[in-house]
């Protein structure tokens, strides 16, 4: 119930514009022989047009599962057990298969982790992009299609002749940019990028990240950027949602997250970022400490929280707007 209120609160705070994406109390479970693992436990947030939201958290926190839920790509043994995902007003969770086909690639596109490994090794780049376009838009006149594909490659900074190459002839950064080109091919209003620069070297990462920024500026696309490289998040996103064990614990504009993190978990996260600007003592933390099948009553972070109190053991803290646009789920601020 409190999640619904929180969801309403986030809707109202987006300046009255209808957000491109409204996630309301999304819940995703994975079935196991010993009971359901609660991977996403009532996640709610909105995304405005042209905005980039960073979704951060450690391994196993549910960020990729949340993205898969939004795109209706959750595979068994995972399943969406509740909530709504409104993409431009349409509830994606309620769509049937045939309707989903229209959604995919045209309304929402995914740049998956290790995207460069998802390219078909026996097809030329041109054919792969063409395939994506014609599958969702039907057959196209050849000349128009060719111009469109060359235009896409140009937009991601790749030379035209890339179209005639096979994936193994490209470097990691080039392959990643091909994946970005494919994601924007049908001009979807929403792109989900899941760790789009992992496995790339620093300089190449910068080029790919710049490409994402350019694409965002030119097309006005809204993006969810999943990752745990906080340095990259600082460069690319407008707002950050911090997840822990299936819950969002804090959402705020990127400056606030870095300068005034309020949730104890966010504070730990920010303190542990290695930086080349200063030498800090290494902060060692534990990983997830509880069984995701059996979350404890009360706050999900109670076992690791340095500021845990009595209330935390019994009552789930709701996500509350403590400052303009800055939401935190923590009893410290009541």
């Amino acid at each position: 119930m409190t999640d619904q209120l929180a969801a309403t609160a986030t809707t109202l705070s987006t300046n009255g514009q209808t957000p491109v994406l409204e996630v309301k109390n999304l819940r995703v479970h994975y079935a196991t022989p010993l009971g359901d693992v609660i991977a996403v436990n009532g996640v709610s947030f909105n995304l405005k047009k042209g905005e980039t939201l960073g979704l951060v958290g450690e391994s196993g926190c549910g960020k990729t599962t949340t993205a898969m839920g939004i795109l209706r790509l959750v595979q068994p043994p995972g399943r969406i057990v509740g909530g709504q995902v409104l993409l431009n007003g349409v509830d994606v969770v309620a769509l049937k298969d045939a309707e989903l086909r229209d959604l995919r690639w045209r309304q929402a596109a995914l740049i998956p982790q290790g995207a460069m490994n998802s390219l078909n090794p026996v097809m030329k780049i041109y054919d792969q992009i063409a395939d994506g376009i014609t599958t969702h838009e039907g057959r196209q006149p050849r000349r128009v299609l060719r111009e469109r594909i060359l235009g896409l490659l140009n937009m991601v900074g790749l030379p035209g002749r890339t179209a005639d190459l096979f994936p193994h002839e490209l470097s990691g950064g080039m392959k990643q940019r091909v994946c970005i080109a494919m994601a924007i091919a049908l001009n979807p209003p929403l792109i989900v990028a899941d760790e789009p620069t992992s496995a790339l070297d620093v300089v190449v990462q910068r080029v790919v990240a710049q490409t994402l920024l350019d694409v965002k500026a030119k097309l006005g696309v809204s993006m969810i950027l999943i990752g745990h490289d906080m340095g990259l998040q600082a460069q690319l996103v407008d707002r950050i949602a911090v997840m822990y064990a299936g819950n969002i614990v804090e959402i705020a504009p990127v400056k606030n997250i870095f300068e005034e993190p309020m949730h104890p978990y966010t504070q730990l996260l920010i303190a542990s970022i290695p930086s080349i600007k200063e030498k800090k003592p290494l902060r060692v933390t534990e990983g997830l400490t509880h069984d995701l099948r059996n979350p404890p009553p009360g706050c999900i972070f109670q076992f690791r929280c340095p500021k845990v109190m009595e209330d935390c053991l019994h009552y789930v803290p709701p996500l509350r707007e403590l400052k303009p646009e800055h939401f935190v789920a923590c009893h410290l601020y009541e």
Binding site: L170, S171, Q235, P274, S275, I276
Partner: protein, 344 residues
């Protein structure tokens, strides 16, 4: 001055170039020299992007790949001329931790198998009890308990746990040197500090030196004593880690450091950069400086001659760039490391 623990002299490794391969070759490592002293234990970082030669260097030190020319001396002995017994000893003294904590495990065995194999091979224990004690003490160093992990299968442990166990396994042999090839890049960011902390403790409390190979300069900054930054098989800049990272001199290193995303939303990348096309990047330049195609400060002579390592401060900071050829107090550093060893 005692002999160094590890000395690499003018190591060169060239792949390909054979008759059947149409003559195309890749110079993976060129004239690389490095010295790791016996005492005190240090962490030497080898940093570079892919194609820089850092993995080739790891493979060469570990004996997986033989050099085309040059030498690797471990405590004064050339590793290519060791007899079987000496080789076993070398394997014991120089251990490795690799990047992927998933693929190094055989999924059919419980994880204790990795320890049992080592103990069996090197005859580290006389009976099961001794073996168990050895394993427990190694696990303690990395913050794990035997009862928590030994009987599990690899897929039941997290990446961080698996990697820590690999470090424990390396430690078991009480090596003098651990070659860590990207040990934390596949471990979740929140757990990296734990492994880096273990490396520091192994250095400070157990006198184990590290050759830390990575592309992540932020972690290098946190834990390394010395750093070598490679570009396409050759050293671009080397020296004391803080000096190189805080005051990079080689244009490539300056670009690299500038490209690291700073975790501060107010400090965005200020200029956009573009990479030259694939051909330019992958060509092994036969003459001249390798960075010439991308260098914003290139000069005419850079196309025809390769710069040697020139000293920046006369102490422990050098860059291979003609810009520093005539810095006051600079001296042309000899290709071989023996001169600098005796100077200390």
């Amino acid at each position: 001055m005692s002999q160094p623990l590890l000395e690499i002299r003018n190591a060169t490794k060239i792949y390909g170039g054979g008759f059947l391969q149409g003559g195309s070759k890749v110079v993976a490592l060129e004239n690389f020299s490095l010295t790791i002293p016996e005492k005190p234990a240090t962490i030497t970082t080898i940093a570079g992007e892919s194609g820089s030669g850092k993995t080739t260097l790891a493979n060469v030190v570990l004996g997986f790949v033989t050099l085309t020319s040059g030498q690797i001396l471990f405590r004064g002995n050339d590793v290519s001329t060791l007899n079987r017994q000496q080789q076993m000893e070398y394997r014991r003294q120089v251990q490795a931790v690799f990047q992927d904590p998933y693929e190094v495990y055989n999924p059919f065995y419980r994880v204790r198998h990795i320890f049992d194999m080592v103990i069996g091979r090197f005859k580290l224990a006389r009976n099961r009890e001794e073996a168990r004690d050895l394993i427990e003490s190694a696990l303690k160093v990395v913050g794990l308990r035997g009862e928590e992990v030994l009987e599990k299968y690899p897929h039941q442990l997290s990446g961080g746990q698996r990697q820590r166990m690999m470090v424990a396994r390396a430690y078991l042999l009480k090596p003098s040197l651990i070659v860590a090839d990207e040990p934390v890049s596949m471990v979740d960011a929140s757990l990296r500090a734990m492994i880096l902390d273990i490396m520091l403790r192994l250095r400070d409390e157990h006198n184990i030196s590290f050759l830390y190979i990575t592309h992540d300069l932020s972690t290098a900054y946190q834990i390394g004593n010395q750093i070598y930054i490679l570009y396409q098989g050759a050293v671009a800049e080397r020296g004391e880690t803080s000096k190189v990272i805080e005051h990079p001199k080689h244009p490539y290193v300056q670009l690299l450091i500038d490209s690291i995303p700073v975790p501060d939303p107010r400090e965005k990348w200020d200029t956009s950069i573009s990479l030259p096309s694939e051909e330019e990047m992958r060509t092994s330049v036969n003459s001249g400086c390798r960075f010439y195609p991308r260098c914003p400060r290139r000069m005419g002579r850079c196309l025809y001659a390769q710069p040697a390592l020139y000293s920046i401060d006369g102490v422990d900071h050098e860059a291979a760039c003609f810009l520093y050829e005539s810095t006051p107090g600079s001296q042309r550093i000899a290709e071989s490391e023996t001169s600098s060893v005796t100077q200390k």
